[in-house]
Symmetry: C2
Subunit: 191 residues, 2 copies
Amino acid sequence: MASARVARAEREAQMLEIATEVFCERGYAGASMNEIASRCGVTKPMLYLYFESKEGLYLACLTFVGEGLIAAIEKSVAGAGTPSEQVLATAAGLFSYAEQRDRAWWGVIYSETMPVDSVVAEATAGYRSRIFTIINRAMAEVFSDATDAEAASHALIGAGESLLRWWVQRPDETADEMAARLLRILGPFLQ
Amino acid sequence: MASARVARAEREAQMLEIATEVFCERGYAGASMNEIASRCGVTKPMLYLYFESKEGLYLACLTFVGEGLIAAIEKSVAGAGTPSEQVLATAAGLFSYAEQRDRAWWGVIYSETMPVDSVVAEATAGYRSRIFTIINRAMAEVFSDATDAEAASHALIGAGESLLRWWVQRPDETADEMAARLLRILGPFLQ
DNA sequence: TTCGCTCCTTACCAATGGGTAAGTTTACCG
DNA sequence: CGGTAAACTTACCCATTGGTAAGGAGCGAA
Protein backbone atom coordinates (compact mmCIF):
# COMPACT_ATOMS: atom_id res chain seq x y z
CA MET A 1 0.00 0.00 0.00
CA ALA A 2 2.98 2.31 0.08
CA SER A 3 2.23 5.20 -2.25
CA ALA A 4 4.73 6.56 -4.73
CA ARG A 5 7.25 8.90 -3.15
CA VAL A 6 6.60 12.45 -4.24
CA ALA A 7 8.65 15.53 -3.48
CA ARG A 8 7.24 17.70 -0.74
CA ALA A 9 6.47 20.74 -2.88
CA GLU A 10 4.58 18.67 -5.40
CA ARG A 11 2.69 16.74 -2.73
CA GLU A 12 1.76 19.95 -0.96
CA ALA A 13 0.33 21.38 -4.16
CA GLN A 14 -1.69 18.24 -4.76
CA MET A 15 -2.97 18.25 -1.19
CA LEU A 16 -4.01 21.88 -1.53
CA GLU A 17 -6.03 21.22 -4.66
CA ILE A 18 -7.71 18.11 -3.34
CA ALA A 19 -8.42 19.65 0.05
CA THR A 20 -9.97 22.65 -1.68
CA GLU A 21 -12.19 20.30 -3.64
CA VAL A 22 -13.30 18.42 -0.55
CA PHE A 23 -13.91 21.56 1.49
CA CYS A 24 -16.06 22.90 -1.34
CA GLU A 25 -18.01 19.66 -1.62
CA ARG A 26 -18.65 19.08 2.06
CA GLY A 27 -18.04 22.37 3.80
CA TYR A 28 -15.55 22.90 6.60
CA ALA A 29 -17.38 20.85 9.21
CA GLY A 30 -18.33 18.07 6.81
CA ALA A 31 -14.86 17.54 5.38
CA SER A 32 -12.71 14.94 7.10
CA MET A 33 -8.94 14.86 7.14
CA ASN A 34 -9.08 11.12 6.50
CA GLU A 35 -11.01 11.58 3.29
CA ILE A 36 -8.72 14.32 2.06
CA ALA A 37 -5.66 12.22 2.81
CA SER A 38 -7.01 9.12 1.15
CA ARG A 39 -8.02 11.06 -1.97
CA CYS A 40 -4.40 12.20 -2.12
CA GLY A 41 -3.31 8.56 -2.01
CA VAL A 42 -1.59 9.22 1.31
CA THR A 43 -2.33 8.85 5.01
CA LYS A 44 -3.45 11.41 7.53
CA PRO A 45 -0.17 12.12 9.31
CA MET A 46 1.22 13.50 6.05
CA LEU A 47 -1.45 16.18 6.06
CA TYR A 48 -0.54 17.11 9.62
CA LEU A 49 3.14 17.08 8.83
CA TYR A 50 2.70 19.59 6.03
CA PHE A 51 -0.24 21.68 7.27
CA GLU A 52 -0.24 21.37 11.08
CA SER A 53 -4.01 21.08 11.60
CA LYS A 54 -7.38 21.11 9.88
CA GLU A 55 -7.55 24.85 10.39
CA GLY A 56 -4.08 25.22 8.93
CA LEU A 57 -5.03 23.22 5.89
CA TYR A 58 -8.18 25.24 5.40
CA LEU A 59 -6.32 28.50 5.76
CA ALA A 60 -3.82 27.33 3.15
CA CYS A 61 -6.66 26.47 0.75
CA LEU A 62 -8.25 29.80 1.45
CA THR A 63 -5.21 31.89 0.65
CA PHE A 64 -4.42 29.63 -2.29
CA VAL A 65 -7.81 30.31 -3.86
CA GLY A 66 -8.37 33.77 -2.41
CA GLU A 67 -5.17 35.38 -3.60
CA GLY A 68 -5.52 33.89 -7.06
CA LEU A 69 -9.11 34.93 -7.36
CA ILE A 70 -8.53 38.46 -6.19
CA ALA A 71 -5.50 38.84 -8.42
CA ALA A 72 -7.58 37.72 -11.39
CA ILE A 73 -10.36 40.12 -10.53
CA GLU A 74 -8.06 43.05 -9.92
CA LYS A 75 -6.21 42.46 -13.15
CA SER A 76 -9.45 42.26 -15.07
CA VAL A 77 -10.97 45.30 -13.40
CA ALA A 78 -7.87 47.45 -13.86
CA GLY A 79 -8.77 48.49 -17.39
CA ALA A 80 -12.43 49.18 -16.61
CA GLY A 81 -13.80 52.71 -16.61
CA THR A 82 -17.48 53.11 -15.88
CA PRO A 83 -19.14 51.29 -12.99
CA SER A 84 -20.89 49.01 -15.46
CA GLU A 85 -17.58 48.09 -17.00
CA GLN A 86 -16.16 47.46 -13.55
CA VAL A 87 -18.97 45.08 -12.65
CA LEU A 88 -18.64 43.17 -15.89
CA ALA A 89 -14.87 43.09 -15.53
CA THR A 90 -15.18 41.68 -12.02
CA ALA A 91 -17.40 38.92 -13.31
CA ALA A 92 -15.09 38.28 -16.23
CA GLY A 93 -12.14 37.98 -13.85
CA LEU A 94 -14.13 35.57 -11.73
CA PHE A 95 -15.13 33.47 -14.70
CA SER A 96 -11.66 33.31 -16.17
CA TYR A 97 -10.13 32.30 -12.84
CA ALA A 98 -12.80 29.64 -12.37
CA GLU A 99 -12.27 28.45 -15.92
CA GLN A 100 -8.54 27.97 -15.68
CA ARG A 101 -8.63 26.46 -12.17
CA ASP A 102 -11.74 24.74 -10.91
CA ARG A 103 -15.19 26.22 -11.19
CA ALA A 104 -16.24 25.20 -7.72
CA TRP A 105 -13.22 26.51 -5.83
CA TRP A 106 -14.57 29.97 -5.09
CA GLY A 107 -16.85 28.09 -2.67
CA VAL A 108 -14.05 27.89 -0.15
CA ILE A 109 -14.36 31.65 0.34
CA TYR A 110 -18.13 31.63 0.65
CA SER A 111 -18.43 28.50 2.75
CA GLU A 112 -20.76 28.90 5.71
CA THR A 113 -19.98 26.03 8.03
CA MET A 114 -16.86 26.83 9.92
CA PRO A 115 -17.03 27.38 13.66
CA VAL A 116 -18.07 30.92 14.55
CA ASP A 117 -15.39 33.21 15.93
CA SER A 118 -12.61 30.94 14.71
CA VAL A 119 -9.51 32.14 12.93
CA VAL A 120 -10.80 30.49 9.75
CA ALA A 121 -14.07 32.40 9.93
CA GLU A 122 -12.11 35.59 10.30
CA ALA A 123 -9.87 34.80 7.35
CA THR A 124 -12.77 34.02 5.01
CA ALA A 125 -14.45 37.22 6.14
CA GLY A 126 -11.28 39.01 5.13
CA TYR A 127 -11.38 37.73 1.58
CA ARG A 128 -15.08 38.41 1.27
CA SER A 129 -14.49 41.93 2.39
CA ARG A 130 -11.76 42.44 -0.19
CA ILE A 131 -14.10 41.33 -2.94
CA PHE A 132 -16.83 43.50 -1.48
CA THR A 133 -14.52 46.51 -1.58
CA ILE A 134 -13.88 46.05 -5.27
CA ILE A 135 -17.56 45.86 -6.16
CA ASN A 136 -18.56 48.56 -3.75
CA ARG A 137 -16.16 51.01 -5.37
CA ALA A 138 -18.28 50.68 -8.50
CA MET A 139 -21.61 50.80 -6.71
CA ALA A 140 -20.63 53.88 -4.76
CA GLU A 141 -20.43 55.69 -8.07
CA VAL A 142 -23.92 54.58 -9.00
CA PHE A 143 -25.86 55.14 -5.79
CA SER A 144 -25.87 58.40 -3.90
CA ASP A 145 -26.79 56.66 -0.65
CA ALA A 146 -23.89 54.68 0.78
CA THR A 147 -26.13 52.07 2.37
CA ASP A 148 -27.90 51.50 -0.92
CA ALA A 149 -24.53 51.01 -2.54
CA GLU A 150 -23.57 48.53 0.15
CA ALA A 151 -26.78 46.54 -0.28
CA ALA A 152 -26.43 46.58 -4.05
CA SER A 153 -22.88 45.31 -3.76
CA HIS A 154 -23.97 42.42 -1.63
CA ALA A 155 -26.79 41.66 -4.01
CA LEU A 156 -24.38 41.63 -6.94
CA ILE A 157 -21.96 39.35 -5.16
CA GLY A 158 -24.77 36.97 -4.28
CA ALA A 159 -25.88 36.98 -7.88
CA GLY A 160 -22.34 36.15 -8.94
CA GLU A 161 -22.09 33.32 -6.43
CA SER A 162 -25.33 31.90 -7.69
CA LEU A 163 -24.30 32.17 -11.32
CA LEU A 164 -21.07 30.37 -10.56
CA ARG A 165 -22.96 27.59 -8.84
CA TRP A 166 -25.21 27.36 -11.87
CA TRP A 167 -22.22 27.37 -14.18
CA VAL A 168 -20.68 24.40 -12.39
CA GLN A 169 -23.66 22.36 -13.55
CA ARG A 170 -23.19 23.32 -17.21
CA PRO A 171 -19.63 22.32 -18.05
CA ASP A 172 -20.07 22.82 -21.76
CA GLU A 173 -20.54 26.58 -21.38
CA THR A 174 -17.28 28.52 -21.64
CA ALA A 175 -16.21 31.55 -19.63
CA ASP A 176 -16.67 33.79 -22.64
CA GLU A 177 -20.18 32.52 -23.25
CA MET A 178 -20.89 33.08 -19.61
CA ALA A 179 -19.65 36.66 -19.80
CA ALA A 180 -21.79 37.27 -22.88
CA ARG A 181 -24.79 35.84 -21.10
CA LEU A 182 -24.17 38.11 -18.15
CA LEU A 183 -24.06 41.08 -20.48
CA ARG A 184 -27.47 40.13 -21.87
CA ILE A 185 -28.92 39.59 -18.40
CA LEU A 186 -27.52 42.76 -16.91
CA GLY A 187 -28.10 44.70 -20.12
CA PRO A 188 -30.96 46.96 -19.03
CA PHE A 189 -29.12 47.74 -15.82
CA LEU A 190 -26.03 49.14 -17.48
CA GLN A 191 -25.71 52.74 -18.44
CA MET B 1 -31.55 19.29 36.52
CA ALA B 2 -34.96 18.01 35.51
CA SER B 3 -36.44 20.49 33.06
CA ALA B 4 -40.01 21.75 33.30
CA ARG B 5 -42.49 19.34 31.84
CA VAL B 6 -43.95 20.67 28.64
CA ALA B 7 -46.70 19.20 26.47
CA ARG B 8 -45.47 17.35 23.42
CA ALA B 9 -46.94 19.71 20.82
CA GLU B 10 -45.41 22.72 22.50
CA ARG B 11 -42.04 21.02 22.98
CA GLU B 12 -42.01 19.90 19.38
CA ALA B 13 -42.63 23.44 18.19
CA GLN B 14 -39.82 24.73 20.41
CA MET B 15 -37.45 22.02 19.16
CA LEU B 16 -38.29 22.89 15.59
CA GLU B 17 -37.49 26.55 16.07
CA ILE B 18 -34.28 25.94 17.95
CA ALA B 19 -33.11 23.22 15.58
CA THR B 20 -33.77 25.53 12.65
CA GLU B 21 -31.64 28.18 14.34
CA VAL B 22 -28.79 25.77 14.98
CA PHE B 23 -28.89 24.28 11.49
CA CYS B 24 -28.72 27.80 10.06
CA GLU B 25 -25.82 28.75 12.30
CA ARG B 26 -23.70 25.67 11.83
CA GLY B 27 -24.97 23.93 8.70
CA TYR B 28 -26.24 20.38 8.59
CA ALA B 29 -22.92 18.69 9.22
CA GLY B 30 -21.81 21.17 11.86
CA ALA B 31 -24.96 21.02 13.94
CA SER B 32 -24.99 18.46 16.73
CA MET B 33 -28.04 16.84 18.24
CA ASN B 34 -26.51 17.34 21.65
CA GLU B 35 -26.30 21.09 21.20
CA ILE B 36 -29.84 21.34 19.86
CA ALA B 37 -31.17 19.31 22.76
CA SER B 38 -29.31 21.28 25.37
CA ARG B 39 -30.45 24.59 23.89
CA CYS B 40 -33.99 23.26 24.27
CA GLY B 41 -33.27 22.59 27.93
CA VAL B 42 -33.78 18.89 27.32
CA THR B 43 -31.66 15.83 26.61
CA LYS B 44 -30.92 14.08 23.35
CA PRO B 45 -33.31 11.14 23.58
CA MET B 46 -36.25 13.55 23.54
CA LEU B 47 -35.19 14.74 20.11
CA TYR B 48 -35.04 11.18 18.87
CA LEU B 49 -38.37 10.35 20.46
CA TYR B 50 -40.11 13.17 18.62
CA PHE B 51 -38.14 13.33 15.36
CA GLU B 52 -36.62 9.87 14.85
CA SER B 53 -33.19 10.96 13.58
CA LYS B 54 -31.05 13.92 12.63
CA GLU B 55 -32.32 13.64 9.08
CA GLY B 56 -35.88 13.52 10.37
CA LEU B 57 -35.34 16.62 12.44
CA TYR B 58 -33.78 18.46 9.54
CA LEU B 59 -36.59 17.47 7.23
CA ALA B 60 -39.09 18.74 9.75
CA CYS B 61 -37.26 22.08 9.96
CA LEU B 62 -37.11 22.23 6.21
CA THR B 63 -40.83 21.74 5.63
CA PHE B 64 -41.58 24.01 8.59
CA VAL B 65 -39.66 26.87 7.02
CA GLY B 66 -40.15 25.90 3.38
CA GLU B 67 -43.92 25.68 3.38
CA GLY B 68 -44.27 28.92 5.31
CA LEU B 69 -41.86 30.74 3.07
CA ILE B 70 -43.40 29.54 -0.15
CA ALA B 71 -46.89 30.30 1.09
CA ALA B 72 -45.80 33.83 1.95
CA ILE B 73 -44.20 34.30 -1.46
CA GLU B 74 -47.12 32.88 -3.37
CA LYS B 75 -49.59 34.99 -1.48
CA SER B 76 -47.53 38.09 -2.12
CA VAL B 77 -46.95 37.32 -5.77
CA ALA B 78 -50.59 36.49 -6.47
CA GLY B 79 -51.57 40.11 -7.06
CA ALA B 80 -48.55 40.95 -9.19
CA GLY B 81 -48.92 41.63 -12.89
CA THR B 82 -45.77 42.54 -14.78
CA PRO B 83 -42.54 40.56 -14.33
CA SER B 84 -41.05 43.46 -12.39
CA GLU B 85 -43.97 43.43 -10.04
CA GLN B 86 -43.60 39.69 -9.64
CA VAL B 87 -39.94 40.00 -8.71
CA LEU B 88 -40.61 42.72 -6.19
CA ALA B 89 -43.56 40.80 -4.79
CA THR B 90 -41.41 37.71 -4.35
CA ALA B 91 -38.90 39.73 -2.42
CA ALA B 92 -41.61 41.39 -0.36
CA GLY B 93 -43.04 37.98 0.52
CA LEU B 94 -39.59 36.82 1.53
CA PHE B 95 -38.97 39.88 3.66
CA SER B 96 -42.31 39.73 5.39
CA TYR B 97 -41.91 36.04 6.19
CA ALA B 98 -38.42 36.66 7.52
CA GLU B 99 -39.67 39.62 9.51
CA GLN B 100 -42.43 37.77 11.29
CA ARG B 101 -40.42 34.60 11.90
CA ASP B 102 -36.64 34.71 12.03
CA ARG B 103 -34.52 36.50 9.47
CA ALA B 104 -31.95 33.76 9.27
CA TRP B 105 -34.28 30.80 8.84
CA TRP B 106 -34.39 30.82 5.05
CA GLY B 107 -30.82 29.52 5.37
CA VAL B 108 -32.09 26.05 6.11
CA ILE B 109 -33.28 25.85 2.50
CA TYR B 110 -30.04 27.13 1.05
CA SER B 111 -27.70 25.24 3.33
CA GLU B 112 -24.87 23.54 1.49
CA THR B 113 -23.42 20.98 3.84
CA MET B 114 -25.64 18.01 3.90
CA PRO B 115 -24.38 14.68 2.58
CA VAL B 116 -24.68 14.43 -1.18
CA ASP B 117 -27.39 12.15 -2.56
CA SER B 118 -29.16 12.02 0.78
CA VAL B 119 -32.88 12.39 1.25
CA VAL B 120 -32.25 15.77 2.92
CA ALA B 121 -30.32 17.03 -0.07
CA GLU B 122 -33.17 15.98 -2.31
CA ALA B 123 -35.74 17.70 -0.13
CA THR B 124 -33.87 21.00 -0.03
CA ALA B 125 -33.43 20.80 -3.77
CA GLY B 126 -37.20 20.43 -4.01
CA TYR B 127 -37.86 23.67 -2.16
CA ARG B 128 -35.20 25.51 -4.08
CA SER B 129 -36.78 24.37 -7.29
CA ARG B 130 -40.20 25.58 -6.18
CA ILE B 131 -38.81 29.02 -5.49
CA PHE B 132 -36.93 28.93 -8.75
CA THR B 133 -40.14 28.13 -10.60
CA ILE B 134 -41.85 31.20 -9.19
CA ILE B 135 -39.05 33.53 -10.20
CA ASN B 136 -38.47 31.86 -13.52
CA ARG B 137 -42.09 32.40 -14.49
CA ALA B 138 -41.34 36.11 -14.35
CA MET B 139 -37.97 35.88 -16.07
CA ALA B 140 -39.37 33.81 -18.89
CA GLU B 141 -41.51 36.79 -19.80
CA VAL B 142 -38.49 39.06 -19.88
CA PHE B 143 -35.94 37.00 -21.77
CA SER B 144 -36.59 35.39 -25.11
CA ASP B 145 -33.89 32.78 -24.53
CA ALA B 146 -34.94 30.18 -21.94
CA THR B 147 -31.39 29.60 -20.74
CA ASP B 148 -30.90 33.31 -20.21
CA ALA B 149 -34.08 33.36 -18.18
CA GLU B 150 -32.82 30.44 -16.13
CA ALA B 151 -29.50 32.12 -15.43
CA ALA B 152 -31.21 35.38 -14.57
CA SER B 153 -33.52 33.59 -12.16
CA HIS B 154 -30.60 32.02 -10.37
CA ALA B 155 -28.83 35.35 -10.24
CA LEU B 156 -31.89 36.98 -8.73
CA ILE B 157 -32.28 34.28 -6.14
CA GLY B 158 -28.63 34.59 -5.22
CA ALA B 159 -29.04 38.33 -4.89
CA GLY B 160 -32.01 37.77 -2.62
CA GLU B 161 -30.10 35.31 -0.47
CA SER B 162 -27.28 37.76 -0.11
CA LEU B 163 -29.58 40.63 0.75
CA LEU B 164 -31.23 38.53 3.44
CA ARG B 165 -27.85 37.68 4.90
CA TRP B 166 -27.02 41.37 4.89
CA TRP B 167 -30.35 42.21 6.46
CA VAL B 168 -29.70 39.84 9.34
CA GLN B 169 -26.81 42.10 10.32
CA ARG B 170 -28.97 45.23 10.38
CA PRO B 171 -31.78 44.44 12.78
CA ASP B 172 -33.03 48.01 12.91
CA GLU B 173 -34.09 47.99 9.27
CA THR B 174 -37.71 46.91 8.77
CA ALA B 175 -39.12 44.71 6.02
CA ASP B 176 -40.80 47.71 4.43
CA GLU B 177 -37.60 49.73 4.40
CA MET B 178 -35.89 46.74 2.88
CA ALA B 179 -38.49 46.50 0.14
CA ALA B 180 -38.11 50.20 -0.58
CA ARG B 181 -34.36 49.81 -0.76
CA LEU B 182 -34.74 46.94 -3.18
CA LEU B 183 -36.95 49.10 -5.35
CA ARG B 184 -34.23 51.77 -5.49
CA ILE B 185 -31.53 49.22 -6.23
CA LEU B 186 -33.47 47.37 -8.88
CA GLY B 187 -34.99 50.58 -10.21
CA PRO B 188 -33.14 50.88 -13.50
CA PHE B 189 -33.75 47.21 -14.15
CA LEU B 190 -37.51 47.41 -13.99
CA GLN B 191 -39.64 48.23 -16.97
C1' DT C 1 28.39 0.11 3.06
C1' DT C 2 26.62 3.15 6.05
C1' DC C 3 24.92 7.49 7.46
C1' DG C 4 21.24 10.56 7.34
C1' DC C 5 17.43 12.91 5.41
C1' DT C 6 12.90 12.88 3.44
C1' DC C 7 8.66 10.56 2.51
C1' DC C 8 5.38 7.71 4.34
C1' DT C 9 2.78 4.23 7.35
C1' DT C 10 0.87 1.59 11.31
C1' DA C 11 -1.22 2.00 15.39
C1' DC C 12 -2.81 4.34 18.65
C1' DC C 13 -5.43 8.41 21.88
C1' DA C 14 -9.27 11.11 23.80
C1' DA C 15 -13.31 13.43 22.41
C1' DT C 16 -17.42 13.71 19.99
C1' DG C 17 -20.71 12.13 16.77
C1' DG C 18 -25.48 9.80 16.01
C1' DG C 19 -28.36 6.65 18.20
C1' DT C 20 -30.65 3.48 21.93
C1' DA C 21 -32.19 0.77 26.23
C1' DA C 22 -34.05 1.10 30.36
C1' DG C 23 -35.56 3.37 34.06
C1' DT C 24 -37.43 7.64 36.78
C1' DT C 25 -40.46 11.45 37.68
C1' DT C 26 -44.69 14.05 37.26
C1' DA C 27 -49.40 14.93 36.42
C1' DC C 28 -53.80 13.76 35.55
C1' DC C 29 -57.86 10.52 36.15
C1' DG C 30 -60.84 7.29 38.13
C1' DC D 1 -55.43 7.27 47.18
C1' DG D 2 -53.43 4.46 43.43
C1' DG D 3 -52.51 3.58 38.77
C1' DT D 4 -51.11 4.69 34.19
C1' DA D 5 -49.41 7.27 30.44
C1' DA D 6 -46.63 10.96 28.97
C1' DA D 7 -42.42 13.65 29.71
C1' DC D 8 -37.85 13.21 30.76
C1' DT D 9 -33.01 11.37 32.20
C1' DT D 10 -28.94 8.44 32.99
C1' DA D 11 -25.88 5.69 31.06
C1' DC D 12 -24.43 3.47 27.72
C1' DC D 13 -22.95 1.65 22.36
C1' DC D 14 -19.96 2.03 18.41
C1' DA D 15 -18.09 4.62 14.50
C1' DT D 16 -15.65 8.52 13.34
C1' DT D 17 -13.25 12.65 14.36
C1' DG D 18 -8.98 15.62 14.89
C1' DG D 19 -4.50 14.66 16.28
C1' DT D 20 0.10 12.16 17.57
C1' DA D 21 4.08 8.89 18.54
C1' DA D 22 7.12 5.94 16.75
C1' DG D 23 9.09 3.51 13.39
C1' DG D 24 9.90 1.82 8.38
C1' DA D 25 11.55 2.52 3.49
C1' DG D 26 13.79 4.66 -0.32
C1' DC D 27 17.72 7.29 -1.89
C1' DG D 28 21.68 10.42 -2.43
C1' DA D 29 26.27 11.35 -0.52
C1' DA D 30 30.63 10.05 1.51
